[in-house]
Symmetry: C2
Subunit: 335 residues, 2 copies
């Protein structure tokens, strides 16, 4: 796969420069440092702040979810590489409104270590920091070890619900509780058809034959649970959705939100073909779709493939999901 880029080492900086030039009314850097990006709109004193971050290459994750009803700041790493603890600490200081900061991010080794160090630094400044790890990827660890799983497209739901709670001026403990409840009720499975290319590597992260796909592959190319001959869209959806459904489990009578996410190179047409089958299967099991999201929400550069995510809803999570949200990358009116 060929890339439209300049020097590989400038990839993340130039991306952020483009974003800030395009959306100055929404986003700004902290101290001219492209690694630290925060909301540019008016601050609300006493509002809990939400910080996120991680490697680049997943737009709209993570930076795309900095906005009203979502997160307040993001730390930007190089492609697929964790940003530094110092940069995370700078974001914490920049976004704290006196009510504390929730670190909300996907469970990856480098990010875990660096967000931990940033929390220590912030606490020395008397900024209270709590943490919720998103761990929605069913393929990354077996049932019973949910807390060892990676975070993938389900991150979106955690931003959406926790962001709404923060905007409603809930306390840090309450925002954390809602984020954790969201994670506990979110399950994702992905499938990859082709590799992506990290700019600094200059070649595909992994190889996969023209007639193969890998079910359960992670968004950085982490091994999945099965490499198999190419199946139909319907077959892929059935395999992935059944694994998701039995994992939580999602049962008859449940109300869910469905997220059909493109990993980068998969046409929107194919995501809707998948949604058609998701709808049919859930309908057959008596599981009701309350709200759907279909498009690119967490990508892996130009990887071909998709992921399916279900979030099991109760009245509180519905209220948070229905809350208005606004960023340059995601817009939703209040229901």
């Amino acid at each position: 796969m060929k890339k439209l880029m300049n020097k590989p080492e400038d990839f993340s900086r130039e991306t952020i420069e483009g974003i800030i030039l395009a959306h100055p009314e929404c986003l700004k850097m902290v101290d001219n440092n492209f690694r630290c990006v925060v909301r540019a709109d008016e601050r609300k004193p006493g509002k809990v702040a939400i910080a996120t971050g991680g490697g680049s290459g997943h737009l709209p994750t993570f930076l795309g979810y900095v906005g009203y009803g979502l997160a307040d700041g993001v730390t930007v790493g190089n492609v697929f590489a964790s940003p530094s603890a110092e940069a995370m600490y700078e974001v914490d200081k920049a976004i704290d409104n006196g009510a504390g900061v929730l670190h909300l991010y996907g469970r990856y080794g480098g990010d875990l270590m660096n967000f931990g160090m940033a929390a220590d630094l912030a606490s020395m400044d008397d900024i209270r920091v709590e943490e919720v790890l998103v761990t929605d990827d069913v393929a990354s660890a077996p049932k019973g070890e949910e807390d060892k799983r990676r975070g993938v497209a389900g991150l979106f739901y955690a931003y959406k619900t926790a962001g709404a709670a923060a905007e409603k001026m809930y306390s840090l403990d309450e925002v954390k509780r809602i984020a954790q409840k969201t994670v506990d009720n979110t399950r994702t499975m992905g499938v990859a058809l082709s590799s992506c290319t990290v700019p600094e590597a200059g070649k595909p992260t992994f190889t996969i034959s023209d007639d193969e796909m890998e079910i359960g592959m992670g968004i950085h190319g982490e091994p999945g649970i099965e490499r198999t001959k190419l199946k139909t869209n319907d077959e892929v959806v059935e395999i992935m959705l059944n694994k998701i459904i039995e994992d939580l489990p999602f049962e008859e009578g449940a109300e869910v939100s469905v997220l059909v996410n493109g990993l980068g190179a998969t046409p929107l047409e194919e995501l809707y073909i998948a949604y058609r089958k998701v709808y049919e299967i859930l309908d057959g099991k008596g599981i009701k779709i309350y709200r759907n999201y279909i498009g690119e929400f967490a990508t892996s550069m130009e990887m071909a493939g998709m992921s399916l995510t279900l979030l099991k809803l109760d009245d509180e999570l519905k209220e948070m999901l229905d809350f208005k949200a606004y960023s340059p990358f995601f817009k939703q009116d209040q229901k």
Copy 2:
């Protein structure tokens, strides 16, 4: 490139079924025919209706621009194939509010013929039909023969401005005038890095070496103006933008809207790297960016590449561009 699909011949139907299941509050079929999709919200008697259509495989073009402040109905062909005149005529009948219909679409042979026949059929029902062809692709015919050019991502601007005028209850003549003025002031250039695969063909539409790109290629793989070694993002932007600027021409003091469009497989990161250079070049020439759009607006399945579009604005076009628009695929608040 591998596809997530079922039977190739079901690709367009299954796509539309998924879309209607996902967005029943916004879109519906006419007489259960997936080839004819119209707005599902309340009709405004006396409002000019806008019909569009063309082959599938370009989402969000065309169907994604059926909504408030945009078009009213779309006719859906197979991938890269024109829909029939009969289906277009069914859409005309379904959306006419008594004020006439504007056929607004990209200039391609099959669509020209079929929309023409549909207009004849509609006129026999006393539905007044006018037509505006979008012809923004600078690479597809030389200066002086602008009316022979193809329509590409600039379609978006024609929907946006004509759709706003229709929503403001302008007459058919006025909606047509605004659509034509938009087309007259819109210029696009694209670059392709890889081919797409049409489902029914099952193999890439064209071949291109791993170290090559084609500047000016059309969104169905039509030949461009130059096949060249892979250049940097900055170089590609400079070549394409200069051709656009000199074509209209866009001159110092002009106000423009910029659209940086991904063709399918190009990461959003790379589109923002391009926007950074667009901004620098326009700023250097004293051309002011009034509003930007960055993302996937007109795709070519999973083609890697992008297009740049400029629209030269006056006060009237700014007013139309700032008007609220809403579809499942495109949301913009009133400025």
